[in-house]
């Protein structure tokens, strides 16, 4: 829609940077290989710690939404995803604990600054992750007692169920990209520098927890898929940055007028979110302001009707009759909206407020929108709201010279139409608040003679207020209908503004059943989750085996081995509970490789190998409404102890 940075810029960068997080392999003399590998492990751990820190913030942002919800509400609203969020958060904190030990180290390289390129990709990814999160946070402000307040129309989108799920899905994809690279480094066959074995083991343990994040998301996904459209919406969330207020100076081309209309529409929608609350006392609340904004909304609707009819004519010329028909229907809807707004403006006849004489900034912004849409709709580059200039309508050819111009103008009209329900809602809310505060008045002269009021004005009778509010309700209904029809055209022509519709649907998905049902018919995202080869398959490949049948058999052997390990692990968990000696499982590089393969397969039950707490403790730790879902350092320490080898083995 605009040239502003969007979250997708940074999410895509993270994905690209994590593709080769280890960086290029540098030639190292054989005698220095052990020291170089130790340095790489330490540096990778440092880079991973940076990524995990930001990933933990992402999950904390998401779980913050649960603060005000009961467990029942959480289950009803988020289903399996609530569990996935807490498991992911738990896993990230566990991974962070392991990686912090791997960073500090215990051997000869401890405390020494690592050299090499092993974390170039991770460092870059951590930076992109941070910027991406900061971008999302621009839509919020800090409120009293640490509460998070919405400060843009995108804030409810960021916290919507579809977008938060998409965000966790992305976090899981990133974790999945890092895990095999870290594990490969930790379990590589390079000579081990004395005293650094534990660092490599801890790095591998951290990577195992990264796979846990992904398997938690996979479980949730099987019940309630993330949609491709949700990922697109997440990626389209822009930086919250309002363009400065601009007035057309005359002579702008259609592209500039479309851009100006879009920026102005965003400003109006932003302003609409902030008006209303102070109508009970603010001197800026005046009848002039509300009459002005209703009149400007009338003219904006009228201009949109002109534009939609011109676009319909142009679409017909371009040989897209379906689009032309829909544009004509939208134009009809715009005419209805215009008439409704005109009635709302007329509803102020002989109604006023206790303060007069000023126009609010919000009303002034609505006038800007009428001007921008008017310049786009009319031929005269100096068109204004007066009769003075020519009122000739811009020709369809001038509006959209080529088929490629159609989406741009449709987007501008869509943006303008999207503001109208917001104006109706904001002004209606102001009127309601002011009426309750006794700030709506009528001239005494307009009352029947039976009223004996010794003042120029009297409080507006309830019947007059009801008529006024009814007119605004009609304007809202007609504007909403207009927006819906234009949004359908925007989707048809793939106008950039169609993201507004996706954003609204995402917000409504949580509480409008029709929207939720419609979403279920959409395309789920196709996640790329290649499972690395298991030890048998890998060894055969290392031996140069290319025969597909042999490799498939090797893969089946690996899977059978995985299953056997899982069965035994679960059997022991059932028999011994939390006291089962699972620490044996990770004690050698070969055993760790098997476990890594198990975790990478996405089997959620494999987590039990890493996390065998006592049943009571498990319930406490994994209960979504428990703060203890976030692992404590002491727990992570015990977890590490379980994974420590009984005897030194080559990682």
């Amino acid at each position: 829609v605009t040239a502003r940075p969007v979250f997708g810029d940074f999410a895509d960068a993270v994905s690209a940077q994590l593709e080769d997080a280890l960086g290029p392999e540098r030639p190292v003399a054989r005698r220095k290989l052990a020291a170089a590998r130790a340095g790489q492990v330490q540096e990778f751990s440092r880079g991973l710690a940076g990524c995990l820190e930001v990933m933990a913030r992402y999950t904390a942002d998401i779980t913050m939404m649960f603060d005000d919800l009961t467990a029942q509400q959480r289950r009803a609203l988020y289903g399996e995803w609530a569990w996935a969020w807490f498991q992911a958060r738990h896993a990230i904190l566990n991974a962070a604990a392991f990686v912090s030990w791997a960073r500090s180290g215990t051997g000869a390289s401890a405390g020494r600054r690592a050299r090499g390129q092993a974390a170039t990709g991770l460092d870059a990814a951590a930076f992109s992750l941070t910027i991406g999160r900061d971008l999302l946070q621009t839509h919020f402000a800090a409120g009293p007692l640490g509460a998070r307040l919405d400060r843009s129309e995108w804030a409810p989108v960021v916290t919507s169920r579809p977008v938060t799920r998409a965000l966790l899905f992305e976090v899981a994809q990133w974790a999945r990209a890092i895990a095999p690279q870290g594990a490969r480094l930790a379990l590589s066959g390079a000579p081990v520098q004395r005293g650094t074995e534990q660092q490599r083991r801890w790095l591998n343990a951290a990577c195992q927890w990264l796979w846990v994040i992904d398997s938690a998301v996979q479980v949730a996904e099987r019940r309630d898929s993330v949609l491709t459209a949700d990922i697109s919406l997440l990626h389209a969330i822009p930086l919250h940055e309002l363009a400065p207020r601009l007035i057309p100076i005359g002579g702008e081309d259609v592209a500039r007028l479309c851009q100006g209309t879009t920026s102005c529409a965003e400003r109006v929608r932003h302003a609409a979110r902030t008006v209303g609350a102070d109508a009970s006392w603010s001197p800026a609340f005046t009848a002039e302001s509300l009459i002005h904004s209703a009149s400007c909304a009338t003219i904006s609707s009228h201009n949109c009707e002109i534009l939609l009819r011109s676009l319909a004519a142009r679409a017909a010329e371009h040989g897209v009759p379906d689009v032309s028909t829909r544009l004509l229907s939208s134009a009809d809807a715009a005419a209805v909206a215009r008439d409704s707004w005109l009635q709302a403006a007329r509803g102020w006849h002989r109604v006023t407020t206790d303060t007069r004489g000023t126009i609010s900034p919000f009303a002034a912004e609505t006038a800007d929108l009428a001007l921008w849409t008017g310049r786009l709709a009319h031929d005269d580059p100096q068109w204004t709201l007066t009769t003075a200039p020519s009122q000739a309508v811009r020709s369809p050819q001038s509006l959209a010279s080529g088929p490629g111009d159609l989406p741009r103008v449709v987007a501008a009209v869509h943006q303008a139409c999207e503001t109208l329900p917001g104006i109706a809602g904001a002004d209606s809310s102001q009127i309601h608040t002011a009426a309750r505060a006794g700030r709506l008045l009528v001239p005494t002269r307009s009352l029947p003679d039976t009223f004996d009021v010794p003042h120029p004005f009297a409080p507006a009778p309830g019947s007059r207020v009801d008529i006024l509010l009814g007119a605004y309700r009609d304007a809202w209904t007609a504007s909403t209908e207009l927006t819906t029809t234009v949004a359908a055209v925007a989707a048809d022509v793939r106008a950039p503004s169609r993201i507004l519709t996706a954003a609204r649907e995402a917000v409504q998905a949580g509480f409008v059943p029709e929207v939720a049902r419609a979403r279920r018919r959409r395309e789920p995202v196709a996640a790329s989750r290649p499972v690395p080869p298991g030890p048998v398959e890998r060894i055969l490949k290392d031996l140069g085996v290319r025969d597909l049948d042999v490799l498939l058999r090797a893969s089946a052997v690996d899977q059978a081995g995985d299953q056997m390990i899982l069965d035994v692990a679960h059997d022991r968990l059932g028999r011994y509970g939390g006291s089962a000696p699972y620490r044996d499982l990770n004690r050698s590089a070969s055993a760790a490789e098997v476990i890594n393969h198990l975790l990478a397969s996405g089997d959620p039950s494999a987590v039990a190998i890493l996390h065998p707490p006592r049943p009571s403790r498990a319930r406490r730790l994994l209960r979504p409404d428990s703060d203890r879902a976030a692992v404590s350092p002491r727990h992570a320490e015990r977890q590490s102890a379980r994974q420590e080898p009984e005897a030194e083995a080559e990682p």
Binding site: A287, T352, R356, L385, T387
Partner: protein, 144 residues
């Protein structure tokens, strides 16, 4: 006599503050009737008539705030049988309303000079500003 001509005659005949305010209040009402009759989306001057309707409403509300405005209208004792502006085109109606708004500006300025009460002066000044705005929107003299 049509509404605009009647409003002009009453404004010109008014000689003291309450009479001017009374005539101005009703003149805004008459002006609004004519404006609303010409708020035709197909007429080419739709935007100007919509905005001038808003200004006329604001002008009437401003006059209503003057303490010296009589509580009952002396100029409209009975139902008016005058037409809004019979047979006028959009351009002609705009010209007629512009003429009335210019007269309103001048009479309200005069009323502000006669007023001793600050609230009366403020109301007259504000109403004159809105009348000037109507004039400007419909192609008359520039807004002051």
């Amino acid at each position: 006599m049509d509404r605009i001509a009647g409003a002009r005659a009453r404004l010109e005949a008014a000689d003291d503050l309450p009479a001017i305010l009374d005539a101005a209040y009703e003149a805004f009402e008459d002006m609004l009737t004519v404006i609303e009759d010409h708020q035709d989306p197909g007429g080419g001057v739709f935007a100007a008539f919509v905005m001038s309707g808003a200004a006329a409403m604001n002008g009437q509300n401003a006059v209503a705030g003057a303490p010296s405005l009589p509580h009952t209208s002396a100029v409209r004792a009975g139902p008016s049988d005058a037409g809004a502006a019979p047979g006028l085109s959009g351009g002609e109606a705009a010209a007629a309303v512009t003429g009335l708004s210019l007269l309103l500006v001048s009479r309200l300025d005069a009323a502000a000079g006669l007023a001793r009460n600050v609230a009366d002066r403020t109301a007259c000044a504000l109403a004159a500003r809105h009348a000037a705005s109507v004039c400007s929107l419909l192609g008359g003299a520039p807004r002051p």
